[in-house]
Structures are given as structure tokens and as C-alpha cells.
Subunit: 441 residues, 2 copies
């Protein structure tokens, strides 16, 4: 994962957009060290995670050739560091603690397209102390909406579900066991690939052996997508009365959807989808996935949900929370493959070229550049003495939008000739008007 | 190195200021992976660097217990990755290649105050192909000036020298040998600690055995600090005529200083200082150090210079360049110790509190928050149902500047009560005027 400058700028613009929206919703930044103690990092994880961890050693440690695992390892996500951070600084933080964290994480996988050893995660979480109102669950889709609306990568849908609805519904079909639910959900996940009929066949057969009416009801349930706010609220109402768990989920989901309306989130930007589960062991309430309507094959571009307790391994305090994560590196490459990343625009707005090799010409170029920078224009001066054609070619290769020329005539009259490299139009105007002209054209 | 949110925001503001100025001068971003091949990383370095490198291994590699060094190691600076990057992407880059890079680097040192295992470097470099005009050397101090002026951490001085002046001057004293020059410069570095007289004694004695007139001339030379542009230009003029190397250095330094004037850099922001050397093996022309006038003990906060060839280990192309580096992590902690870091201001500008546990009150708060965010105000809504006093206490602890209250009366009249937590003044105004009011007060 290494980008050329034009791609890096596009990537940086995405990072900035995400960060601006996180801050707009009142999230505060934290950064944690890339190293965590191996014992901290491996507390929660099974063997799979351990195989993916990078361990670090300085030369001195290498030489010791100990059989024990190295003391330090690199974070593989931002959730474990958050849990450790909140537990460590609990007394100094204001709760509900709202943090964003946008850093790289590391996984010891074989590098291949779509899989990265090093990639950005952009996370937000709201952490409560002892309790956290379900109202925070409603704020998260508003943040997702603001971000993907700003990123302008096409229409998207925030898919909403609540683990209590899922759990309650399964229980109402007398499918109470967690491992059985998980196996069924795994089959349901294959609907897009295998088709609904094939999946239903599987559920009717060994080892599931669902009876036909249950399978039918289950398929209808997981196949539902709400088409409007009213449709979503009706569907929730219709589910009620089966058991307490389900009703609790329905009430939570209903208040989330009502709050979305209060926050002006358009009803075509979200949908109820009872098939969203996000793994059965961590999330306990609202869950989110976000998909691009025109690129379903990309899968979820922003996911998360509500959990009961962030940091049980590191503190006795109960810390419920809700959060999401955007895996920006993977998303960037997928959007690039889909042609949705524009790399046309350099952060440098104008190149001031120099035509003559004289102190006067240099001085004029430098003074003009200084005044542009003071007007907020990102300005480069070509200080290498090259032919004009070569300087224009450089501007083109570096994707700089404007070229400014101050020849002898312009210098005498305090003027400048500005050429817009995309429209190829040029004007000669007063130097003092140049910044305004570039802002307007 | 892990910060609480208030400090993290202050740190982030510094990063943003540096980045904004790098972009203002037309530098493009790059980021490189934290891992480099061990063979790439250790090409240039001696044993000292090797001891400081962190090697990384996934579990699978650990199990192999090979005697060879691990294949991957973590970057210990941004210069080696830049050299590898430019060599690798040479054909795709536009030259002169101007990049900024602001990333963490890693050194396997024992963690202690002032020394970090992981710290930010913020670098810029301009890389030419085959040649790079000395005019670029003049642009660098303009960037340094813009950054530290914006950071507003007090008066500072950009110390300028040119390695050719230093080399030529030593030669004019018949001190031509590099290793001898280096030893003498090391003694001269101790002037601040030991005093000029003690250092002069050392130079007169074994193993230096300088004769008195040479020692006198040398001490005068390295003790010189220019007090104005005119003073600097006169001092340079006076040095001329000893040998070609020195004259070349004088000419380069003279054009740098003339260009600084053209770029409106105030003459008290820079000074000639012939004692600046920055290590004898890498830099070959202009060198920079930057010091805070009121905190000389902090040492140089931004250093760099001109080098002949960036990437001789990785390409046959000749790639001369000039650049600087800001070690922001160390600087941040030093400024914090000196009381120069303000952590008063959260990125969140206003907390909308909720007084009643009703859907109407919630809806009003959410709608108001949405409209503030659309006006560019970073807004948090307190969704936890808590007593008003507790909500205000939270705002205070989270360092949020404003609290907005929409009670029943305000709701009826589309009003809001805004309280500025630093002035303790409050007003009740139309909700539509709230963003403007907060911008103005």
C-alpha cells in the first residue's frame, strides 16, 4: 500500500472528509501507540488473531533468542487499544466518552490484492459508564450519512438491524441456541450467491431440519428490506408480541428510526434489514452495515453496532458503547477500481513559472507567490531555470490547475498572465486580483 | 507517547498547521508503509542504527527461529523511505519532486522522558533530477518561517550556514582534513556549555595544537551571528577571496538571503551562524537549524539542509535535494513543559443539553444540532438523561466552549439559550441566529 502523490491526495481528501464529520458530531481525537503489550493484545483473541499479529523486537531482544513470545506486538485493530486506553485513563475521561481514531493497523497476512498487511481504520465510539442511552444508537447512522454524502461516491444505504430482534425472532421459532443461530445466519449470508431457493433447501435438510413453515417464515423475515420510514415502522410494529427480547429490540429500533427523521436523514438513505448480524459474540443491540447501491459487490463499507461492555478484560467498570469502523484502505482501492476516485486535482493550485534568469524576474515571482499564499492559495514557484514549455509540462504532470506567468511586460505593470490548464483559457490581470480570479474560475 | 483528548487536539492542531503550510508552498503528500525490507533499511546505516531498529515477524516467522535477521523492519526515519520511494517511482514522478511526509518513525531505544520509541517526523524535501537550483535552498527558510509564525510559540531564529563556507574557511586555515574538522566542530559545539575561553584552550592544546592566531580567527568565525540582513551580507562579502569553495558557499548564501528578502521574511527571523554544521557526512551546501529565542535549552526545533545525492544506494540517477525535518513529538512535550501548549479548546464547539425526557425535547435538540452542523459548528448532543448541573459539568470536563439549552419556553418560540462557559455570559436568541452568535463571541 504505497500511493503516488495524486492518489495520496485523493486518499488524504477522504481522510479529511471523514475526520471533519467525526468532529462535526462532537467526537474527540485520540491516537494510541502502534505497540501494545503482547499480553494486552492477545487477551481477547483466539488462535486466528494470534497468527495474524506482528511481533516486534529490537536487535538486542532478537539476540536473546527467547522461546517466549516477544513482549511487544502491533495493534491489529483499534478496538483493543480503545478498550485498554479507556480502562487506563478512566478517571481522566469525561463520560459519555466520544472518541475518533484514524490510524493504521497491522495484520501478518500474505499481501495480496484486497488484503493489506497495513491499512487505515477510521473508528468512532461513544462509551458510557455503567449505562448508555439507546439514543446514541440513532446518532451513529447520522454520522454515516453525513460522511458518505460528503464523499460523493454515489447512493448508499445504511442497513439497520438489532441483535435483540434477531435473537427474539429465532427464539420465537424455537431456535434458541446461539451456535445453531449462527450456523443458520451463515447459510442466510449466502442468499446473494446461491439464491433464496437453494438456501431454503439447505435449511430444510440435515443438519438444520427446519420444518417448512418455519423455514418459510425465516426466509421472509431475513428477506425483508424496508422501502420507507413508514414501511420500516409498520414492519417493526407487526413483529411485536412474540417475546420480551424481540419487543425490546423493536422498541430500540423504533426510537432509532424516529430520531433519524428528527435529524433530517432522508428515508432512502437507510433500510431495515433483519439479516444483518455482524457476528454473534460482540454486538448486543443495534447493528449497522452500509452498502453502495450501485456497487453491491463491494460489500459493507462502514459497519458497527452496540456492545454491552468494552473493556471487561482491563477494568471492573461496566463500559457499554456503540461505534462504527471504516476500513479506508480497502475502500479506497475498491472505489478506485470502480472509477469513483478522482485524482485530477493537486493540492497545489498554481505554479508560478519563471521566464528569465534574472534577479528581478526571480524577485517578482517570489513576491507574487508570497502574496498568493497569504490569500490562501497553495502556490509553487518553479525555481529551476527551464524552457517555458518544459515548465508547463511539469505543471501538467504534477496536476496543478493553474500556471502564472510574469514576463517583463507584466512585471512593469504589476500584472500576471494566468492560464487555466483544464479550460486552456488565459487572462492577463492585475496581480492583486489573481487570487480572486482563481477562486472564481 | 499517548495523549488525553485535550492534548491530542493541541497536537493535532500543530500537525494541521504544519501540513497547511507545507501545502501552501506546493508540497505534495506521500505516505510510505511502516515496514521496509531490512536490507533496504540497513544499507546506509552503521551499527548504531542497526541496534535501534525494530524488526517485525508474524507468528509463523517466529516459529522458524532462523538465525538470519528478519526480512522486515520498521522505518527509523523518513529519509531512507523517501530515497527508496523516489528510486522506485522515479519515472512516474514530476521533477523537481516536492513531497511532504508526516508519519511516525520507530527506534528501539529504552523509553525515557525526551526519548521516544515512536515519534512523529514532519519532513519536506525538494528533489531534483541531475541538478537542483540553489534557489530552492532559499524557499526552505520561508516555509520554516511560515510554520513557526503560525504556531505562535514565541520568537524564533532560523540559523543559516553553508557547508562550503565552513569547509573553505577550514581549508584557508590549512585545516583540510575532514576528520580533524569534525573534531574541532565537536569542541565548538560545547561553547554554550563550557564557555568560549575553555574551548579555545582545548584547541590550543594537544591533539589540536592550533596556533594562537588561527584559534583566534576560528573562534571569531564560529562566534559570529548576523544582526540584520545588511550585517549578514557584509559578513559574507568580507569572507570572500580565500578559496573557490568558500566563495561558492558565500555566493549561495548571498542568493539565499536576497531571496528571503523578496519573500518578505523579517530580518530578525533569521541569522547567519557559521558554527552550524549538522554532521559532516550528508549535507553539502546550505544547512538550517531553528531555535526559540526564549528557550535556547530546547535546541533546534527544525533542521535540515542541502545534499548531493538522495538515493545512491537505490538508483544510478543523481538526485540532489534540500529538505528539513520537524520532530514534532519531542517538540510537543518540550513546549508543553515550557507552558506553550494551550489545551483549553475542544474541537467540539457546543454541547446541546436536554432537560426533559420527552420525544419532543429530543426532537428539538436533534433538529437544532443538525442545523448547527450544517452551519459548520462542531456540535454534540447530550443524549444521556442527566441533571442539568451534571451536563454542564461534563461540558466543562470535556472543555467544550458553549452549552445550548432548549427548554419548553425556548421550544415554543424557536429559541435557544446559549451560555459561553469561559465568560459565563448567556443569551436567549432565535435558533437561526445561534451559529452566527457563536462565531462572533
Amino acid at each position: 500500500m504505497e500511493l503516488l502523490p495524486a492518489d495520496q491526495m485523493a486518499f488524504q481528501r477522504m481522510l479529511d472528509t471523514i475526520r471533519r464529520n467525526y468532529e462535526r458530531f462532537g467526537f474527540s481525537p485520540i491516537e494510541t501507540p502502534v505497540f501494545e503489550l503482547t499480553e494486552t493484545l492477545l487477551t481477547k483473541s483466539g488462535g486466528e488473531t494470534e497468527r495474524q499479529v506482528y511481533f516486534v523486537q529490537s536487535t538486542g531482544n532478537l539476540e536473546k533468542k527467547s522461546d517466549a513470545l516477544p513482549e511487544l506486538a502491533m495493534r491489529f485493530d483499534l478496538t483493543v487499544p480503545l478498550a485498554r486506553y479507556v480502562a487506563e485513563h478512566e478517571r481522566e475521561l469525561a463520560f459519555p466518552f466520544r472518541r475518533y481514531q484514524m490510524q493504521r493497523v497491522y495484520r501478518g497476512e500474505r499481501a495480496q490484492r484486497g488484503r493489506f498487511r497495513e491499512f487505515y481504520q477510521c473508528d468512532i465510539d461513544v462509551i458510557g459508564k455503567d449505562a448508555l442511552s439507546v439514543r446514541y444508537d440513532a446518532e451513529i447512522p447520522a454520522v454515516i450519512y453525513a460522511i458518505f454524502n460528503d464523499l460523493a461516491i454515489g447512493p448508499f444505504t445504511i442497513q439497520l438491524n438489532n441483535r435483540k430482534i434477531l435473537k427474539g425472532f429465532f427464539e420465537s421459532l424455537a431456535l434458541a441456541e446461539g451456535s445453531q443461530q449462527e450456523l443458520i445466519l451463515r447459510e442466510i449470508d449466502k442468499i446473494d450467491k446461491r439464491g433464496a431457493d437453494a438456501v431454503k433447501e439447505t435449511l430444510l435438510a440435515d443438519p438444520f431440519n427446519l420444518d417448512a413453515s418455519k423455514a418459510e417464515e425465516l426466509m421472509r423475515f431475513v428477506g425483508f428490506r424496508s422501502s420507507s420510514t413508514a414501511d420500516a415502522l409498520n414492519a417493526l410494529e407487526a413483529l411485536k408480541g412474540r417475546n420480551e427480547t424481540l419487543d425490546e429490540g423493536v422498541n430500540e429500533m423504533t426510537s432509532v428510526i424516529n430520531a433519524l427523521t428528527a435529524m433530517n436523514i432522508p428515508q432512502d438513505a437507510f433500510a431495515l434489514n433483519f439479516s444483518i448480524a455482524r457476528g454473534l459474540d460482540y454486538y448486543t443491540g443495534t447493528v449497522y452495515e452500509t452498502t453502495l447501491n450501485d456497487y453491491p459487490q463491494i460489500g459493507s463499507i462502514c459497519s458497527g453496532g452496540r456492545y454491552e461492555n468494552l473493556a471487561s478484560h482491563y477494568t471492573k467498570s461496566k463500559l457499554p458503547g456503540v461505534g462504527i469502523s471504516i476500513g479506508l484502505t480497502r475502500l479506497f482501492f475498491q472505489l478506485k477500481d470502480a472509477g469513483l476516485i478522482s485524482t485530477e486535482e493537486s493540492t497545489t493550485q498554481v505554479l508560478v513559472v519563471t521566464m528569465e534568469d534574472s534577479e528581478d524576474a526571480l524577485e517578482a515571482a517570489l513576491q507574487f507567490a508570497t502574496s498568493l499564499r497569504q490569500s490562501g492559495i497553495n502556490t509553487e514557484v518553479m525555481l529551476e531555470n527551464a524552457k517555458l514549455a518544459k515548465q508547463f509540462k511539469y505543471a501538467d504532470k504534477a496536476r496543478i490547475g493553474w500556471v502564472a506567468v510574469i514576463g517583463e511586460d507584466e512585471r512593469t505593470n504589476n500584472q500576471v498572465t494566468l492560464k487555466n490548464l483544464s479550460t486552456q483559457q488565459q487572462v492577463t490581470i492585475n496581480q492583486a486580483d489573481a487570487a480572486t480570479h482563481m477562486h472564481q474560475h
